[in-house]
Structure formats: C-alpha cells, structure tokens
C-alpha cells in the first residue's frame, strides 16, 4: 500500500458545536476514481475541503501526496486541483482570461501553449473571447474542470461536478475523468447520481458526517447484507405501501410497473410477499440505491439513539 495519495485518519470538523465530519478515514490509491456519496449535508464538501487544505480539521491527521495535512497546506494546494460545487470562475472575465489567471497563479511555464491546449481540448478555441458568465451550465462545468486541471494536479477533487448538467454532457464529463485517471491522476468526486457512482473504481458512503461504507460497488452491496426480490405482474407497482413495514422487509419501492423489495433475509422476504401470488417474484441484486437508503436509515436510527 505504498502508493496511497490520500491517507487521512480520524478527520473531524465541527462548526459551532455541530459535528459535520466525524472520525472519517479515507485512503485512495494513485490513479483511482473514488466516488464520494452521501445525502445532502452529510459532510462531503467539508471533507473535500479538508483534503485540499481549505479547512483545518479539528481532529485527525493524514497525508495528502505524502504531505502533512495540517502543516503543508500551501504545498498541497499547488498539487491538488479542486472544482467547487458552485461555479467559481470569474464571470466577468473571458474563457481564455480565466484559464490564463489560473495558469499564472500556479506559476506555470508555457502559459500561452497550455491555455491554447486547454481551449482546444474543451472545443472552445473559437469562443475563447466569450465571457465565462455567459456560458451555459454544461460549458461552465467543462471550463471549471479545465481550470482545475490546468496545472496538472496529481489529485483532482470534484464537488458535485455534474449537478444540473444534461446526460450527454455528463457522459462526456465522465469519459474525460476516466481519461485523466488513466494518465495517473487520482480523482475524488462527490455525487448524488447512482449511475455516476457505478462509473467509479470504488465508492465511499458518508452520512451524518460518518463513513458508513467503503469499497468497490460489489463489496459495498455484499457488505450491506441486503437481499432483494423483484416482483412483476399486474398491479405490482401498487403493492409498495402494503408490503413496506412487514416483518423482514427493509423497504419496498415501485420501479416502473415492477416492485423492488429488499431486506436482510431472503426467506423472510419471500414469506412477506407470499400472499401476493398474482405477481411473479424473482431474486435480484440489490441496487446501490437500496443499499444507501438502507445505510442511511440505519445511521439515522443510530443518531437518534445517540441524541
């Protein structure tokens, strides 16, 4: 495990008595794409900010690129690229001027060429004189990514980069992320989209500031211990409210005309749905979403107990 570019242990951050990030451990190997998932307000952004030196943790320690998280924030900032959740480029500067600014503050050589290359790569070479603020959401996001990787960082942190972006642009964005990772860049990306999570090498699930699951998608699903049944047939989708809450059923949710039921034990599940014999039931793999909702409910229960 020599090539961990992110290795943080026990990260904790409190804002005004509220613990936003609680004892989070995270190890990411070079060149991998790690998806960072969790409900709103779960501490994803705060964790990312601590990793890139924008926040100092209240407790915990770690190294980013082998540099101490607390003492070498300046050096870390130079080798990490960070794309903020909200569009954070200068809307009253042109596309080219924005890129030039970031090239300058990172003290890059061959500025002109780098900016030109980035514009070419973006497909914005002809529109380089347009004001960044006038771009549409998808283009803004691509420009922000270009600015974040201009200095060829070793780690790229993306905070919900595809929120509000159309599917086509999202697809292209992810292709680009994979390309960057193949080039050796390590990517930590927070997202709410399950399809995006599935495009990551591994995922980390955080809720209420705590890391609840960690690993590849297969590992996370297996680790949850959930089993699932898929029911198809007339009126299957309308059964959800009747099945939900029965013993052995963790949750039941309609999916189109079908119904998806899951719980920790397969035989208990079968027993719970036995009376609805008009529907054909077959075993299915629980989805990532099932797992996350299940984990979140578990965490909720815990936090209630703690409170």
């Amino acid at each position: 495990m020599s090539d961990l570019v992110i290795d943080v242990r026990g990260l904790t951050k409190r804002f005004g008595g509220r613990t936003v990030v609680d004892d989070v451990n995270l190890q990411v190997a070079r060149g991998s794409i790690c998806g960072f998932l969790g409900p709103n307000g779960s501490g994803k952004t705060t964790t990312l900010r601590m990793i890139c030196g924008l926040l100092i943790p209240d407790a915990g320690e770690g190294e980013v690129l082998g540099l101490d998280l607390r003492k070498r924030r300046g050096a870390i900032k130079g080798r990490v690229g960070y794309m903020t959740q909200k569009f954070g480029l200068f809307s009253d500067l042109t596309i080219a001027e924005n890129l030039e600014f970031f090239a300058r503050v990172h003290g890059l050589d061959r500025r002109r060429e780098r900016v030109a290359e980035a514009l070419e790569g973006l497909g914005l070479a002809t529109r380089s004189d347009q004001l960044a603020g006038k771009l549409s959401g998808g283009w803004k996001q691509r420009l922000a990514l270009a600015a974040a990787v201009l200095h060829e960082p070793e780690i790229l942190l993306l905070d919900e980069p595809t929120a509000g972006v159309d599917p086509q642009a999202r697809r292209e964005f992810w292709d680009q992320i994979h390309e960057l990772a193949q080039g050796g860049m390590t990517v930590l990306v927070s997202t709410h989209y399950m399809d995006e999570a599935e495009r990551c090498h591994e995922i980390a699930y955080i809720a209420y500031g705590r890391m609840l699951a960690r690993g590849t998608i297969g590992e996370v699903i297996a680790g949850s211990g959930l089993q699932a049944l898929l029911g198809e047939g007339p009126g299957a989708d309308r059964l959800a409210t009747r099945i939900e809450g029965r013993p052995g059923v963790a949750m039941a949710a309609p999916f189109g005309t079908a119904i998806h039921v899951c719980g920790p034990d397969l035989s208990a599940l079968r027993a719970a749905v036995a009376e609805f014999d008009g529907v054909t039931w077959r075993e299915a793999r629980p989805s990532l979403e099932d797992v996350f909702i299940h984990l979140m409910r578990g965490a909720e229960d815990n936090s209630v107990v703690v409170a």
Binding site: G53, A75, V80, Y82, T84, F87, G88, L89, H106
Partner: protein, 366 residues
C-alpha cells in the same frame, strides 16, 4: 413583503448597527465637534521690547479666548519655523523699541503673521488681535499720552497672511479634496473587491490556489494604485491650471506622500473587507470611515476649531495626516525634513493596517 424585508434586515445585525450608529455619530460630529469660529488657536509671541506697552499687549492677547499663547520665542526665525510646522497658527512680533516709538508717536509696527492656509479659521482671529491691541493700549495711553489714542491708531498693525496671502479658499480646499477623493475611492474599491470574491463564490477557488495572503493583497492593491495616480494627476492639474493653487514644494515629495497615503488607504480598505461579510457591509464601513475623514480631518472645517477629543479622533485618520502633508508641501513649501513627522505617522499606520489585514485574511474558507 414588508415582513420579509424586515426579517432580512434583522438577519444582518451589522447593517442595523451601522444604521443606528450613523445618526448618533453625525449628531456628535455636527453638534459638538464642528465649530466654524475656532477659539484657543495656538500663538507664538516674539517680544523684543520690555516696555509696559509690550507687556499689556502680551497680557491682552493671552486674555482673549481666541488665542492660546503656546510659545514665547526670542531667536529670530524660530516663530516662522513654528508656523511652518503648523505648531502655531499666529506669530505676533513686538519689535525692538516698540514702547519708545509708541511714546514718541512714531506709530511702531506690530507684526502679525498668520498661517492663512485655511482663511476661514484666521479671519475672526485676526479681528480679535486688533481689538486686543486697541484695548490694551487705550488702557495704557493715559495722562500725557492720551493724545496718542486719538485720531490715527497709535500702532501700525501689519498683518501678514502667510502661505495664502489673498485668502483664497480654494487654495486650501483643492489640495484637501485630493485627500478626500483618494481616500474615498481607495478604501471603498478595495473593501468591495474582496467581499465581491466572497459573494460571487470565486473566493473558494482563489483560496484553493497556492496564492499567499500577502500576494492576494498586493494583487488587489496594485490596480487601484494606478487609478489613484490618475485621480491625483487630474486633481493636481486642475489645482495648478484652473485654480492657480501655488505649488511651493517639490513634486517628488508630493508624489511620494501621495503614494504612501494611497497604499495606506488601500490597506485599510483591504482590512475592512476581511471584516465585512457582504459588499453592502463593506460599502457601509467605507462610508463610516469617510464621514469623519471629511468632517474631522480639517478638510471641511477648521481642525483647531474642534474639541480635543475630536482632534485626537482625527489624528487616528490617515486622511488628517495626508491633508497636512499635501497642504504643507503645496502651500508652505515643506521639504522632506518638514514632512518627515507626518510621513512617519502614515508609515506606521500602513504597517499596522497591513499586518492586521494579512493576519485577518484567512486562507481557509469560512
């Protein structure tokens, strides 16, 4: 709608505080601090005569509320030095053999030199000198000398209005205006520029770069310095060409002082921006700074007309010192040695403001 506005207003206690403070500060300044008929003006006496008349004049001048005799000088040139430094506003010189000449009816001269850079504050005071001298002498010219009190005044009161002999107000206000315009733009522009980054969400990106606080501050300040220089050129050209304000000192010293003042104001603006949480607040803070700068610095109203507390308050404002500098250099022909004191004060202010600003500027988010 009204409820929504009120709620939003209450959410921002800084703004409320400033809105409530504003009338109080205004009342205090206008009500208590400003006085267009300044009293207790510092005066130097140079008495080269030992007659009773000289003593009476001395006593009479000390008796009027217009003056406060702060220096009694004997060496020639010492009084002029005090005037130039702005330590006194008037110098009254009683010449040698004043008493003898008076008795002989030779109408001796009594020389009054006034620092007339601010004509408003000297007008009434000069009248008071005349009165005091007349009063003193009527008292003394009795018996055989009573005749001297009749007809033409027994003493030839020579009034010399230094630095602004014609008493032209614009000679005083135009250089002062330079100070006001510069502090207004410099402080406000920088104060807004950092809060704007925060409001538009570009700050987070800026902080994620390896830029150091000092570099951010210098980067924010330099462009405005250029604006300040343009403003200075415009105002100084107008002062010289349109208003014919004299320019007694050296251009280099004026430039140096102005640069120092601009950088100090910019650092102040930067510091305000690290305190303000929104552009609105930054705006209000700069306004809050401008108010005393205009009213107390000696720009709009005579500095010496203010009570001591207001004078001390004004001493803390960079504008006050810069106004003294620019007036001293333009009207009184200050050299580097004359200006050193005020320049030193500005340099100390810059050091303090710069340090506080860099310290307060955080390289982490919220």
């Amino acid at each position: 709608m009204v409820f929504k506005e009120v709620r939003q207003m209450l959410r921002d206690p800084g703004t409320i505080g400033m809105m409530l403070m504003m009338p109080i500060v205004q009342l205090t300044i206008f009500g208590f601090a400003i006085n267009n008929d300044p009293r207790q003006l510092p005066m130097a006496l140079e008495i080269n005569d030992t007659s009773q008349f000289a003593r009476s004049i001395d006593a009479a001048l000390r008796n009027t509320t217009y003056f406060r005799v702060t220096h009694v000088v004997s060496a020639p040139g010492e009084g002029e030095r005090l005037l130039k430094d702005g330590k006194v506003q008037f110098l009254v010189t009683v010449p040698v053999d004043f008493g003898r000449d008076l008795v002989r009816g030779e109408r001796p001269q009594l020389l009054v030199t006034a620092d007339a850079t601010d004509p408003a504050s000297t007008g009434n005071a000069l009248g008071a000198i005349q009165q005091a001298v007349d009063g003193a002498l009527t008292h003394d010219l009795i018996g055989p000398l009573a005749a001297r009190a009749q007809g033409t005044p027994p003493v030839d009161l020579v009034i010399h209005r230094s630095y602004n002999p014609e008493g032209i107000t614009s000679h005083n206000t135009v250089p002062g205006l330079l100070a006001i315009v510069l502090s207004m733009t410099m402080v406000m522009l920088t104060a807004l520029s950092v809060t704007r980054e925060v409001e538009q969400g570009t700050m987070e990106n800026l902080l994620a770069t390896p830029l150091r606080p000092f570099e951010v501050m210098v980067g924010k300040i330099v462009p405005y310095l250029v604006i300040g220089i343009v403003q200075m050129v415009v105002i100084l050209s107008a002062a010289l060409v349109v208003f014919h304000v004299p320019f007694e000192g050296t251009v280099a010293l004026a430039l140096f002082s102005t640069l120092l003042f601009m950088i100090t104001s910019l650092a102040l603006g930067f510091m305000l921006s690290t305190v303000a949480t929104s552009q609105l607040q930054a705006m209000q803070m700069s306004f809050f700074y401008m108010l005393p700068s205009i009213l107390l610095s000696g720009f709009a109203f005579p500095f010496r007309g203010m009570p001591v507390w207001a004078q001390w308050l004004a001493e803390v404002l960079p504008t006050t010192h810069y106004i003294r500098l620019v007036r001293g250099i333009m009207l009184k022909g200050w050299t580097l040695a004359d200006a050193a004191g005020q320049l030193g004060v500005l340099a100390v202010m810059l050091a303090v403001l710069g340090t506080v600003a860099v310290r307060r500027y955080q390289d982490t988010v919220a």
